[in-house]
Amino acid sequence: MRVAAEVKDDQGRVICAPGLELDASILERFQRLGVHYLVVEGHPVNFPWERPLEEDLEELEKRFSHTSDPRLLMLKELIKQYWQKSRKPE
């Protein structure tokens, strides 16, 4: 699993650049340095609040079911594209 964005400690100092391959000892060191979270490549972790992409897309359609405003439909398309791109499995 690789780091996808700069990792910062709790003082906002960058302690690692993107691209680093993670292992247990690095994660432990990050924790000691006060790192609260990090972003990794791909979508290897499912958070408790996450649903499968198909379900989220279905809900997205429902939320927009009351509108035909082209600007809002553009927003819906952008969200859809963003999710499809960012949640593609590695």
Partner: protein
């Protein structure tokens, strides 16, 4: 309906179950009104109350303001966010606490709108970006009041949303003859919050009524839409609210802007999920 509105306003003047304002607020208001007051003097007043200090620092360090560095003292928070934001956070600390425990969905929605408002304000290079984020945080204050003070009406509103498929806003107007923006406005005017916060809270569903802070109001309007569109938290009904032409025109955004903003917002929202878990005393460890 007019009689009902008068009755609601009368009751708002004598709020019972909403947490009362901490006494420290009146001292702060006095201090902030004096132009010779320093950040340090204000910090001293807040820091006398440890619980309040920790609440304020928690909010200041949360992702919706997006400061890269942890802020550990009230005086640096004042320098970074300004008197008005800190005073508002002190003022509303107990209300947020109530939201966290009683309406987590609305709490998450408010945090999300705060984050989106801050990002939009930054993108549009507005001054006082932290105040815009704070207005986002407070924009649905009226809903908290309806729930706490008028539980009977609140249930009727939810029933209308559920059964008639009305938006929360339409249902409020039908049941109360007024809506959460007006109720929020009534309250924040009584608290003497600055107009830059009042207008977005009052008019985020009627942007054309904004006089001095049109862009700020339009930002909260759009931030609300984006957060509802993403399905983050719960704003009272499951639908994306309508976009008002004036708001869209005032902001002058296009497809490319929104495309750029979505990943930034997504990252902030992820941090906010962790923040919410943290304040609930939950975590992944």
């Amino acid at each position: 309906m007019e009689a009902q509105k008068r009755e609601i306003k009368r009751k708002l003047r004598q709020l019972q179950s909403l947490p009362t304002l901490p006494p420290v607020v009146s001292r702060l208001t006095k201090l902030i009104g004096d132009e010779n007051t320093t950040a340090l003097q204000i910090a001293e007043v807040i820091e006398k109350d440890q619980v309040l200090t920790s609440k304020v620092l928690k909010m200041v360090n949360s992702a919706f303001y997006g400061f890269p560095k942890r802020i550990s003292t009230v005086s640096s928070a004042i320098v970074l966010l300004g008197f008005n934001v800190i005073r508002t956070l002190v003022l509303t600390a107990s209300i947020f606490e109530m939201m966290q425990s009683e309406d987590l969905g609305l709490w998450e929605h408010s945090l999300g709108v705060a984050a989106a408002s801050g990002i939009l304000a930054q993108h549009l290079e507005l001054k006082n970006q932290e105040e815009v984020a704070t207005a986002g945080l407070l924009h649905d204050l009226g809903k908290v009041v309806i729930r706490a003070e008028f539980p009977h009406f609140y249930k009727q509103i939810l029933r209308l949303v559920e059964q008639e498929k009305l938006s929360f806003l339409e249902a409020e107007k039908q049941i109360l003859g007024m809506y959460h923006g007006e109720i929020g406005e009534f309250l924040v005017r009584r608290w003497n919050l600055p107009e830059r916060l009042v207008e977005p809270i009052a008019f985020h569903h009627e942007v054309e009524k904004a006089r001095k802070y049109k862009k700020e109001t339009a930002i909260i309007h759009l931030a609300d839409i984006i957060i509802r569109a993403l399905g983050y938290g719960n704003g009272g009904d499951p639908w994306v609210p309508g976009l008002q032409d004036k708001a869209w025109r005032w902001l002058g955004l296009d497809r490319k802007d929104l495309e750029e903003l979505l990943p930034l917002l997504d990252e902030r929202l992820l941090e906010l999920r962790f923040f919410t878990l943290e304040i609930q005393g939950l975590g992944f460890a």
